[in-house]
């Protein structure tokens, strides 16, 4: 039997657009110190440090090397992973495997991005094959615009529904002191007035470029129980990748291709006996780069049937006090330091299970939570977190 792994420490920075006051190592150190304080331990106890970051966004090659002293990796084992938008999830997965393998008892996993250092859209555009279609890729924005268009045209949703998603996200973000964009949006009209970036995706439909870091301390079963009374168990995870879609990179508007979310959910749900996700799971922190994508994800993650995603938001099902809260933290449209974002999803879901989410805590009991990550050519990572195994 593989060893069980729990999250025993959670730390994140106050995410924001520009961090002129810190360098990349200093920013990450803030999250690490917060996680150590949360777990009430010292860096000496940490046995390995794993990093997740997209180098091209900051133009820093081997960023984990640059910060080895500031974050306490000096003299310790570890490595860095790089899988695009799911980087933060891959690093949590690697930390999970290493502890589950019995190689370490306590590991620090860190996801970070200091996007004011570079130009993220340019960097994402550089994900396209340079010998294929120069100037074709429009970065993530263009890709998600295509998905938005496909959803708008086929599901019965209206632009108002995307606006409702943003209102929910913003209401939640305003209750989360760590969130980046806390706009105080009041009405659907306010959202619908924001300009188009790539039609039909509006400025307010899309996630920001944030600077931030999130660190988790993972522990093996024996250590977890000694460190904290509230370990959050990583019960299961599923990683599904694929090659880039032909008619798009991050999405497939043709409807012919298989989405990794479907495959990942089928496998994860089957292994864990989940037949009715909205009942068997108590809440979800999902990685939605755009409001439209959240509606899409409701369907892909089997929270509802196809073409019904917009009905969930219309009925308030996924509000923080709704039947199945999604993204009580404000989600990715409020905060998106790309390397950190999936780690934040796991961290926020874990905080909900612990009852430590403060002002944005869901009032009903959370025993099982799901955290998802999305990245690259629509890669998916799912985590199932539990209060007790």
């Amino acid at each position: 039997m593989p060893n069980s792994v729990a999250i025993v420490g959670i730390g994140q920075t106050y995410h924001t657009g520009r961090r002129n006051d810190v360098s990349q190592p200093e920013m990450v150190a803030e999250a690490v110190r917060a996680a150590l304080a949360d777990a009430q331990m010292s860096i000496k106890d940490i046995e390995a440090v794993f990093f997740g970051n997209m180098e091209t966004f900051e133009g820093i090659y081997l960023p984990d090397h640059g910060m080895s002293a500031e974050v306490g990796a000096f003299g310790k084992p570890g490595f860095k992973v790089n899988t695009g938008g799911t980087t933060g999830a891959s690093v949590v997965a690697e930390g999970f495997y290493m502890i589950s393998a019995g190689l370490y008892d306590l590991a620090l996993v860190i996801g970070f991005e200091k996007q004011d250092c570079g130009d993220t859209t340019a960097a994402i555009t550089a994900a396209a094959v340079p010998t294929w279609a120069k100037g074709a890729a429009t970065g993530a924005i263009g890709e998600f615009a295509k998905q938005a268009l496909a959803y708008l045209e086929t599901s019965g949703a209206k632009e108002e529904h995307a606006a409702m998603v943003r209102l929910k996200a913003d209401r939640n973000a305003c209750r989360n002191p760590y969130a980046h964009l806390r706009l105080g949006l009041k009405s659907i009209d306010e959202v619908l007035q924001s300009p188009y970036l790539v039609w039909p995706l509006r400025l307010l439909d899309f996630c920001p470029q944030s600077c931030g870091a999130c660190a988790l301390i993972l522990a093996s079963e024996q250590r977890a129980k000694k460190i904290t009374k509230k370990p959050v168990w990583i019960a299961d995870l599923e990683v599904v990748h694929q090659e880039p879609f032909r008619a798009g990179i991050f999405g497939d508007p043709t409807g012919k291709e298989t989405y990794t979310q479907h495959v990942a959910c089928e496998r994860l749900y089957k292994r864990n006996g989940i037949t009715n996700p909205r009942k068997d799971i108590d809440m979800a922190e999902i990685y939605e780069p755009s409001n439209w994508e959240e509606l899409n994800l409701y369907e892909h993650l089997h929270f509802c049937d196809k073409n019904e995603g917009w009905k969930l938001i219309e009925k308030g099902v996924t509000e923080i006090e709704g039947e199945f809260p999604v993204n009580p933290s404000g989600g990715v449209t409020a905060t998106n330091p790309i390397g950190a974002t999936p780690v934040i999803r796991v961290a926020e879901a874990a905080l909900q299970i612990r009852g430590d989410a403060g002002e944005h805590q869901i009032t009903k009991d959370i025993n099982t939570a799901m955290a998802t990550a999305l990245g690259g050519p629509n890669w998916t990572v799912l985590f199932l977190l539990k209060r007790s195994m």
Binding site: I60, G75, V81, A127
Partner: protein, 383 residues
Amino acid sequence: MPMAERVGIIAVAQTKYHPNRTDVNEEELAYEAIKQVLEETGLTLSDMDSAVTCSQDFWDGRTISSMNIQHVVGAHLGHEDNISEDGINAVYAAMGQILSGHQHIVLVEAHTKESQGDKSLIENAAFDAIFMRQLGLDFTSAAALQARRYMYKYGITAEQCAKVVVRNRANAKNNPFAQEPMDISVDDVLGSKMLISPIRLLDTKPISDGACAMILAPEGKVKKLTRKPVWILGASNCYETHYLGDRDLANCDALVKAAQKAYNMAGITNPLRQIDVAEISTEYSYQEPLWLEGLGFCDQGEGGKLVDSRATKMGGKLPVNPSGGVLPGNPNGVAGMARVAEAVLQLRGEAGDRQVKGAKVALAHGYTGICGQHQAVMILGNM
């Protein structure tokens, strides 16, 4: 302590290292190596439970460099992760996945086409942006600082470093994958063009393109897949601090720590006696005596003497780099994984003219970054 079941490497492959593979793009290059391990084992990409790849965005010139190769590692609707350190760390990560019990048959791959980017510009981006980058440093200029410090502190000579080059380039003649085997003398090395004192042209490796692939499996499955399994007995890695001024460059503390952990796992207490062959990564000649000290094959400061002795030659007590190592040409990122591949070939008795007879325990080493800021060691055995 790791779990009871061991992890075995059941097949390895390398492409012949070449200065400029304009005939392939990254996916075709990676597939060249992957095809070989599939053919050798009779497995298909569909049999892989997971893939661990090793490529760098900065070298590939693409964000999310592993997007390039998802299909050739069988990651269509599959499990894949990309490690951004030297390839030996990808083998380590794969080992962790298998020991955890969550993954079983894992394909590991590394590829880099050094010919397509500007090495100095790429390496310069690794230096911290506030203090060091603006000095225009790259790995070679930083290595020169380390070489100078190391030679000054312990009296290592340029001749001793040149002997390392002579031996490695000559050993490469027996390696069908080697890029630039050479018959040269110490004088040839000392007479080659000075790049950055004390590093001369022949003290460095040429630009290289290549890929390496291997398949790992848990003990329970290994026996069915190969008659010549090679086991990972121990492995670890370690970070050093970043700022050059914070380190005594004459030491390699990170390597000492990584080696110590790997030795503990493998039950090695006397490396010089218990290890039959070592494949270590050295992009610069001075690194060989320095890394040999860090690996505990001699005392600190005695690396030069070890190089002078017969010990590290073919037929000696501890042959180092029968393949020729990295100096004759190995790409960044692939180098450490290639060392694991060579160690595996040694332990399977398949190393041809470069075979160390009766090798039972081998050491593979890889490093990443400025002056080996990140070090990794792996101990392998065939029993």
